[in-house]
Structure formats: C-alpha cells, structure tokens
Symmetry: C2
Subunit: 325 residues, 2 copies
C-alpha cells in the first residue's frame, strides 16, 4: 500500500517512521507547503510541493493529512478527498459533525474513502467509549488526560507578552482517578479532574508576577483549573521539556444484575513517550483499513466506529483468529 | 430485535437480565434441555423445550447460545446456525479455528450470520490485543487474568475424592503486572504471572493433607503455579465465595521513533463483580451487531474482529459521532 504524507511537522515525521514498522506499507512521498528543497526527511523520502500532490493521484493509495485542526484540516481534508483516499486526525470535537459532512460529500462524489478524527482522542479513546457504552448501557464514563504536554495550552501561554517559551502539562488528579476506578461514579467538576502545570521561560526583565496572573486567569484554558506556574531557564526548558509525552484513561463503571447490584469497571489507558509518534502509528493502521475498504468499493467518510478491527492489522484473518482471539 | 436464549444457566440468566437494559431488544423465549415446567426465569420470560426451538425460526432474530465450550457449543452452534443467526462464547482457544470452520459452513449454506467466541476473553480482550498489535507492530503483549473465580479449576478440585465443594481464584502477580506496566517487556514464566488460591470444603474425616497434595500436583491445572489451599467450612463457603467476580488486563508495550527510543504502554482492563453477567452483556451487544449484519446480507461466521464497532451500540451514527468521538 502506497502512502502519501501531506504536511511535514511532528505528526508527519511520526507517520514517516511508523510506515517503516509496517512491511506492507511504502511511503510514496511527502508533500509540503514549504519550499521542498528546504525540507529534509528523516528516512530520505522524496519531498514535493503541496500543490503538485494531484499529479500523484494514481500513485498514492491513501494520503495521510498531517495538518492542524484549527485552520488546515477543515480545508485540506475535503479538498484532498476529491483526488485521494484520505485520513486526518481532526480533533476539534465540537466541529466534527460539520467536518464529517464536508468530507463525506467530497469523498462520496468522487468515489473515495475517507477517515476523519483518527488518533487516540479522538480515535482509540472514542472507540473505547463506544465499546464500553455498548456493553454496559447502565453506567457512566470518564476520560482523563495526561500527564502530558498540551500544545494548545503551551501556545496560549506563549502568546502572553514577556513569555519566551512555555510548556504546559495536563495532569489528572490521582484522587479523582482512584474514585472513578473504585466504581463510585462520582460527579466531578473540571477542577476536580485535572490540574495544569506550566513551565515558563520569561523574557529578561519581564514581570513574572503579571505573567503568572495572566496565565491563571485565562478563561477556558486555565481559569477553571488549579494551575501552577514555574519559571525556568531556557537551558532547563531544553534539558527537561523537549519531549511530547501524553496519555490518559477512559473508564466506564456500569451495573448489571437482578437488583443492579453487580458493578463492573472497564478501563482503557495509554502512557505515551511521544504523542505525535503514537498518533502517527494509529493513522498508519487506519490507512491500511481505508485502503482495504476502498478496494471493496466502500466510499464516503468513515470514523473508527465504522472500521472492522481486522482491517487495521496486517495479519491474515486465520492467523488473527489463531493468535489473538 | 427479538432474542432467544438457548441454555439457561448462569450465562443464560445474565443474558435475560442484560436484555432488560437494552430497550431495542426483546426476549422471545428461553430454550432448555431440562423439563420447561421446572425452569422459572428471573423476569418471567417463557420457557420452551430445546428441541422445539426450530418452531421459533421466524420469531427470533438472534439466538444466543449459552452452553459450555467443552461439549455443548461444538455441537449446538453449527446445528442452530442452520435455522438461526447465532452467537456463542466458545472459549477453548486451541479449537477456535475448527469451530469457526464448522459454524461458518452451516451459517453460510443456510444464509445465516454467526458470531463465535464473544465475551471478554475471548472477546473484548481479543479485540484489545488486535488493536494494540495493529497500532504498535514492534512490541510485546501480555494478558493477566483475575482476581477471579475459574470455574474449570474449581471443578477440577471438586473431582478429588474427599472434596465437598471448592472455589479457585486466579490471581495475577502484582510485581509481574507492575514490571509489564513499566514497559520493561519482561520474559515471564507461567508461575511468575499468576498464583492460584483454592478454598476447599472437605468431607468429614477426609485426609486434608492428601487433598492439598493432590491439588498442588495436578498437572496443567496447578502444578505450574504457586498454589495455596485453604480449608473452610460450608458456611464460610456460602458466606464468602458465592459470587463469581473476575477481570484482568491486556497490556502491550511497543516502541516507535528514529532509534526506537520512544516507549508506549497500552492497557485494557476489566474489574467485574459478575463474570457471567458481564459476559452476557457483551453477548447482547454482539447480538445487535449480528442482527444488523444479517439485515445487510452478510452471512457466515464472524468474530469480534469483523464487527464495525458502531454496530454494537444502539445509538444512531450521528449521535455517536457527536457524543463519543
């Protein structure tokens, strides 16, 4: 299966490396909006200008689109779905229905197959929520994220005047996690579920107290959380905060039985050294499924909910039943 | 969707109760090999003789077969697949390929849809293994079971002369579990992964030392494990050991990155108050999917690997994307 990568940031590089781990996959090329001559790939894969992608229509089975959800993907995915089978990791939860409709129309009209919102959340976590809801209809589920770097929150801090660099970690509250795991089904506020740890490099002479206040009072991002701000040096940032770890848990507790007296706790958890590399690994498995579904003339926009799990794996069905069932 | 239950033990009763939690499901009847007049259902569902099941061919959308894997299901599932869409929880791992072939032939020839080996292991745990293998091809996975009652091991103890009753708990070794979770990818022997706790009621005057020796040296069941045997009274058995809790973990640790230097740990875990009721809940969700697949003219034998997750849940696709993705 021949894969194209559209957009070459952290996620694109992750996809490039993930393809190497899947012998049934081959990287046809990387497409960038930058000058291709200035982009060096990790594995020596060829780099082309984004606007020439359409010339590769017949040479690429699935195009993995590695752009941002805010402004890139809402435009890119429907556009590219006219010429390619496509996959993206669109993660603006509130806009998923609209994005789905746009991509579905483009893919369906041109006989392509698309998958949106792949990755781990949305993605594997969504799948876990669905499975858990299907199995335990009488229950309640919770999602915790972290400990991990939130790029959106880090960016929000960087926009504050006097901030040179920043890294924000989302941290689940251990006590809340334990209460959920115990099957207590607690009502938890935003503040009770996660804390936010900020590591900030300030410009020389910046007013640190003011920066800290501006972070802690920032609506949506920080105001509803217990937030800690730690000022560090540029060297400390480089030494301690250059990785992009993440993870989290989906937990559902539900009841069954004659008097609803039996309690069951289901949990799916991830502990990731590299958020972009793991997300990329999910995208590559999804690319396999989308290529296979397209070969069966299944067109339009899909999500992980629509994919038979067997289609994600390279293994033959007989071997799968023997080894994994 | 109209469901039939074939076999009315712990699992059959669990299915009966689970159907109540799913408003799109209706219980058409329970089929038993016992005298129907002697069987009282928990919810007042009608009971029929097993051999009359075929008379209900047009009234049942999916038959959930609640028999044992050793001798019931290898016969029942292919037989019933000639007249019904069927689901079973066949769990003799080594014989799954053979069972699959038999059921597939029967279902395919008569235009039915079948699902074998549903439940949690095989079942949800198999699905977790598949997803984890697809996403992290370079890795190693582990399955731990317990703390929970193993019916097979309890039965094995009961067959020893002088034993009146017995309950065996399979217990994962905490230290092994932690090593796996840490991403160490250890090589673990059978003994290092699980211990076995046996609670035994001895007949009056029985040689307890001999019983203990016979348990601990029993090949396949106990000889390869660190086994503890505790003799208890009949009252203690009734007071402390009448529930059937179970659970376990599937964990995969895999690497990604340029030098394979990033480690990711994926875990799916279950903590169940009632093994049969939870298994039944999985079977009912699977019944929904099999009914839907049959309506789309998809015939033959399937496993959870072949089911698009959306088919398991009652929710509409739009709502699912909005709420769970």
């Amino acid at each position: 299966m021949k894969i194209g990568i559209y957009g070459y940031g952290n996620l694109g590089r992750g996809v490039e490396l993930a393809i190497r781990q899947n012998p049934d996959m081959e990287l046809a090329g990387v497409f960038t909006r930058r000058d291709p001559a200035t982009v060096k790939t990790l594995t020596g894969a060829p780099v082309y200008a984004a606007e020439t992608a359409v010339d590769f229509e017949t040479e690429i089975d699935v195009m993995i689109i590695c752009g941002g959800s805010a402004s890139d993907l809402p435009v890119m995915t429907p556009m590219l779905a006219r010429n390619f089978n496509v996959i993206d990791s669109f993660d603006t939860h509130a806009r998923i229905p609209e994005h789905f409709t746009n991509v579905d129309r483009a893919a369906f009209q041109t006989g392509h197959t698309a998958l949106i919102s792949a990755g781990w959340d949305p993605g594997l976590f969504s799948l876990a929520r669905l499975l858990m809801n299907a199995v335990l209809p009488d229950g309640k589920d919770y999602t915790f994220w972290g400990r991990g770097v939130s790029q959106g929150h880090s960016d929000a801090i960087r926009r504050i005047p006097g901030v040179k660099d920043a890294r924000q970690y989302t941290v689940p509250v251990e006590d809340a996690l334990n209460r959920v795991r115990s099957g207590e089904n607690p009502e938890l506020t935003t503040r009770q579920k996660h804390t936010r740890e900020c590591y900030v490099v300030a410009e020389d002479g910046a007013d640190k107290a003011l920066i800290e206040k501006q972070i802690k009072e920032m609506p949506n991002y920080f105001a509803d959380y217990d937030t800690t701000v730690t000022f560090i040096t540029e060297d400390e940032m480089k030494r301690d905060h250059m990785e992009l770890p993440h993870g989290g848990q989906v937990i559902r507790c539900g009841n069954t039985g004659k008097d609803n007296g039996h309690r069951h706790v289901m949990e799916f958890s991830l502990k990731l050294d590299s958020n972009p590399e793991f997300t990329a690994s999910v995208l590559v498995a999804c690319a396999r499924a989308i290529g296979r579904m397209h070969a069966r003339n299944i067109f339009g926009c899909k999500t992980l909910f629509d994919i038979a799990p067997a289609d994600l794996a390279a293994m033959e069905p007989e071997e799968m039943r023997k080894k994994l069932l």
